[in-house]
């Protein structure tokens, strides 16, 4: 037997397609974010709340990944967003190729900000870069304060953390210090916003920060 050196990331093929996606988005002048979270953490509600506060400043579009159905894309379209559904047919995460294919048909000239809603899952999407400018994780209070400790890869790989459903904090045994400590150890650079997507609490700060990122990327 002869040994041949490889030393390559196992998902390097995915990463190369992700780079192509980024190039395409940059050429179109579109800033993009990848929303990841457990099912039920409030991804779609947060996207709708973000759109509601941003729509006078930026044109927001949405691509949604789900195992089946067009429920989320329909909600986005109902709010006036250009939207597209990727049905993953059972796959537990979006990958760069799925987004690559979706971008072929998405009206990029109609948006400034493209929000990609990943499949609800706290494990699998973490390893698969899509090529978006930001990776955003939505954690929610009812999930519990131990999630960073139990799902380190997801917390480790994101740029922004939205802590959603902050309004129900008094009703749960959720130790915010313990939660934040875990986050800080895994990801000292992450930018965090506590929000309540349905009431709008805290969403303004997140949206202002996001609008600033979009503006900076244009320069």
């Amino acid at each position: 037997m002869v040994q041949v050196q490889v030393v390559e990331n196992i998902l390097s093929a995915n990463d190369r397609i992700a780079d192509q996606n980024r190039e395409r988005l940059d050429q179109a002048g579109v800033f993009s974010i990848n929303f990841m979270a457990s099912p039920g953490a409030g991804k779609t509600s947060t996207i709708l709340a973000t759109h509601a506060l941003l729509k006078d400043r930026l044109r927001v579009g949405m691509i949604n990944g789900d195992l089946a159905s067009t429920i989320d894309a329909d909600r986005a379209a109902g709010a006036g967003m250009p939207s597209m559904q990727i049905n993953t047919g059972g796959s537990c995460h979006l990958d760069a190729v799925m987004l690559h294919n979706a971008l072929q048909n998405f009206p990029l000239d109609q948006v400034d900000l493209l929000i990609v809603e990943n499949v609800g899952n706290l494990v699998c999407p973490a390893g698969f870069q899509l090529g978006t400018h930001l990776n955003v994780l939505i954690a929610s209070i009812p999930e519990g304060d131990d999630k960073p400790y139990k799902y380190p890869p997801m917390y480790r790989g994101v740029n922004v953390l939205l802590i959603n459903k902050i309004d129900v904090l008094p009703y749960f045994k959720f130790n915010m210090d313990y939660f934040r400590k875990g986050v800080e150890i895994l990801n000292p650079e992450v930018v965090t916003f506590p929000i309540c997507a349905t009431s709008g609490e805290g969403v303004g700060a997140w949206v202002d920060w996001l609008a600033d990122q979009v503006k900076r990327n244009r320069r």
Binding site: H93, G127, F128, D146, P153
Partner: protein, 139 residues
């Protein structure tokens, strides 16, 4: 290696992410095997940090399922697991925390930083060739 749209459609793995990972792994092994005109790929040496979400047994299961008929049929997977490594900012020692905990196991401080455990790579492959290799292919 750059795939065409069509090739990707055919190759695009579905279902659980270990299957995606395994399919990517097979692509990598075949690509590097072909580059040295290997007759057979016999071994894959993987280095996987404990901060990666990958279950070795699942990858092995899918590997046995998707490799028959390829150059890598019957190839042995070798998993080198790298534990999570942290440095304590208080006592400055390096340590591996027990699963599910992040505090310093030496002094108890919670001022710690991760310094290892993200590894997720194919380090090398073992191949059989008809002609002896002149030189191992570097990267």
């Amino acid at each position: 290696m750059v795939y065409t749209e069509e090739e990707y459609q055919q190759k695009r793995p579905k279902l659980m992410h270990e299957l995606s990972i395994t399919a990517h792994l097979l692509d990598l092994a075949l690509q590097h095997g072909a580059a040295v005109n290997a007759r057979r790929v016999t071994d894959l040496y993987l280095v996987i940090g404990d901060l990666s979400s990958m279950v070795d047994e699942s990858v092995q299961f899918y590997w046995d399922m998707i490799t028959p008929g390829t150059l890598a049929e019957g190839a042995q997977l070798h998993f080198e697991r790298v534990p999570i490594k942290m440095r304590c900012l208080t006592c400055n020692q390096e340590f591996t925390p027990p699963k599910g905990t992040f505090g310093c196991s030496l002094c108890g401080s919670d001022q710690v930083r991760i310094i290892g455990g993200d590894e997720f790579r194919l380090d090398s492959i073992g191949v059989e060739c008809d002609q002896p290799l002149e030189m191992e292919k570097g990267t």
